[in-house]
Symmetry: C2
């Protein structure tokens, strides 16, 4: 597995000017969104750049849950500036957008669909070495500061997709717990649920030696390898930390120890799933958020309906892990144990059910989580369209244990069952 560098510690953001100087960068494109632009994290990085006399320009129009057109706008902004390095300050949307600004300014003649995951795009490997990108996360969720993945909506195809290649990985992730202090409680919860699912999905993904097709040349291996002995260590540790610290971080925005540990957990989970992959919760989440019948999640101060990404992945988790349990009861029991379940008397055939129940209990205890799709306004008649919206997510579905991806009719049936089961927990 490939890795990027991580720096962790309170106050380490301000070193970013020296980092760019050490990288030989003279002209940095700073990428952020209109909310983060006003936060202390941005103040710290701008001071750091100015102290070292590094020229920069700020692009602060990143759209939350980016769409292909918002990314094209960002790329069009970056091209004439011709930066020699990028700096992303924000959550996953910002970091992902910065990755793609870097990609398409480094490959100016490429067509936008060239690198987009097949079958929606051409899925070409990135052969160009990109410019340095430093990522400063301000949420504890996506782990995007460690991964080679960028996710967005491809509007014309009505699908969530992305670009995934190791060359997209940031050069350095600066994980400074001072930067996540400003997250509202609801954002803590939903971004923490993303971490929870990253860790659980990568821990239970099919093992690397079962992933097919096997490329003949190692450079053609996908970013998502399947579970492997090194990703396992990251995924399981992230899971343990999330179970321990997320409830505290949600309940008390001033619990700095819990918040720091959640930022670290998000990064660890990023390394885990960035090398092993995610599967059903993420694959099913894209149509859930895309086909939102009008749900507006509590604690999000927006006018329009919104299902935060973490909520859309976690809502199916009790159903998903009940379903995948039979594929590897030992791993599902180990995960249940992380939630404090006494597994000494549990039979292997109950592993999925026990983990599903532990998850449901955990979600309920967090508070403000919809107890299934029904509570977001989804009805039985939406299931077919949710299934059709999931089928194109082959890149992650191929890593799902127990799912019959070789037989699409059987796969549809299994997904239908999962969405029905996820209506209520």
């Amino acid at each position: 597995m490939a890795a990027s560098s991580i720096r962790f510690g309170p106050g380490c953001t301000k070193e970013v000017g020296m980092d760019f100087k050490n990288l030989g960068a003279k002209k940095v494109m700073v990428v952020t969104d209109s909310t983060v632009a006003k936060l202390d994290a941005m103040k710290q990085v701008i001071e750091g750049l100015e102290k070292e006399g590094i020229a920069y320009e700020v692009y602060s129009k990143v759209r939350v849950e980016p769409k292909d057109h918002s990314i094209r706008e960002a790329i069009d902004f970056a091209k004439p500036y011709a930066p020699d390095a990028f700096l992303a300050v924000g959550g996953g949307s910002v970091i992902d957008t910065a990755k793609l600004m870097n990609l398409y300014t480094s490959c100016p003649n490429a067509d936008f669909l060239d690198f987009v995951n097949a079958p929606l795009g051409k899925g070409l490997p990135i052969t160009e070495k990109l410019k340095p990108l430093i990522a400063v996360p301000t949420t504890a969720g996506t782990g995007s500061e460690t991964t080679g993945t960028a996710i967005f909506d491809l509007v014309s195809k009505k699908a969530k997709t992305g670009i995934a290649h190791r060359n997209l990985k940031p050069t350095l992730g600066i994980c400074d717990p001072l930067n996540t202090r400003t997250m509202p409680s609801a954002v803590h919860a939903s971004s923490g649920l993303d971490v929870l699912c990253h860790s659980l999905e990568s821990w239970t993904a099919i093992p690397y030696y079962e992933r097919t097709p096997r490329p003949t040349n190692p450079i053609n291996r996908p970013a998502y390898q399947g579970a492997n002995p090194i990703s396992d260590i990251f995924s399981l540790q992230a899971l343990r930390s999330t179970v321990k610290y997320l409830p505290r971080a949600v309940k008390d925005p001033d619990d700095f120890e819990a918040q720091s540990n959640m930022l670290l957990a998000a990064t660890l989970a990023g390394v885990g799933f960035g090398n092993a992959g995610v599967h059903l919760c993420h694959g099913m989440s894209y149509p859930i958020s895309g086909q939102n019948p009008g749900y507006k999640h509590a604690g999000y101060a927006v006018e329009t309906p919104i299902i935060p990404h973490g909520v859309s992945v976690a809502v199916t988790a009790p159903a998903v892990f009940k379903f995948t349990g039979a594929s590897n009861p030992e791993r599902h029991l180990a995960a249940a144990e992380c939630f404090g379940v006494d597994i000494s008397q549990v039979k292997a055939e109950s592993a999925g059910e026990v983990l599903g129940e532990a998850l449901a209990k955990f979600l309920v205890s967090l508070g403000d989580q919809p107890r299934g799709l029904k509570h977001m306004g989804f009805k039985r008649e939406h299931v077919d369209e949710l299934v059709e919206g999931t089928i194109p997510q082959q890149r992650v579905l191929m890593l799902a244990p127990n799912l019959d991806v070789q037989n699409v009719e059987e796969e549809r049936e299994q997904l239908r069952g999962l969405f029905e089961e996820a209506m209520e927990y």
Copy 2:
């Protein structure tokens, strides 16, 4: 922390030709020793290079436990060939020598002492980006395939020292458990003891936020940062695996599961100590092996006296962790728990003693380990010289908990006590 890429899996050695092609390398210097040159690992890499039509030359004269003059010879061999990449196939001596061949052919005008750790050398940071180096370990011990460290004897100063900088890290470590099948049982034991001490020392090293002096620029941070939340995960997992699999790997050379897990543990421990550092066992081991009074370790088919590196680090471990216990009882108890000790009733002030005892028991159970320095022929009158040989190892001693490095007389006294305690366990 910075990381290099790791590939793990049986049979993955033969992909190395494609790896070099993907890196754009056309002329590879293959570095090995006269024993490994005859093994299957070398056959695999040569076939891989030839299949891709990559030119190469083999240097097979690496000396086990390298000395500055043996490294200079290797550099002199590499310079006229002017390779554009390096491939190391062997144990730590081979990989370390290849790192230095890469360094000094990339910086041809540098003086040999420029980069050697201060105070013996100038300790200059490596600003040059080196050529790609792929490392294929054939022992499960040093973890050198993941670290930015190269160790050798500086003969004129009668001292073990080295060069440590992140730019020395191999580009890729190919960890193929098929390559460690040829290790004799005694080599399994001693290289596994190196893994044991890497994991224990990095787990108990002073925390990263207590390390002094703090460089103002992050590029001047040493390779050894002190214990940190990411190295911790690697170190503790490596410790658990070593306790579980080393006894099996030593007892049965055909236990492929145990051997594979020990190779993985060596690599994980490498990432752990490569970022956190080692301390007393390693610092004290250098004079122990350098001042060998005539001990010849069982199972090593050599004519001259030899204390294998792993044996020289482990022999002081029971005394060292008894000494360091008071610095962080919680971590010492967590380590004791990895050995199967029931720590529920143990008081904090006994943590060091309990871990020391668990270690002694583990070493005895492995068989063929000298039960202290006395059993290697060291006597009380050797202690002063052992202490004087340890004092120059400031790079690792500064990470030792409980050691008074600010007051050299007190430090001498503490080291004297440790060597005396290590006479017998």
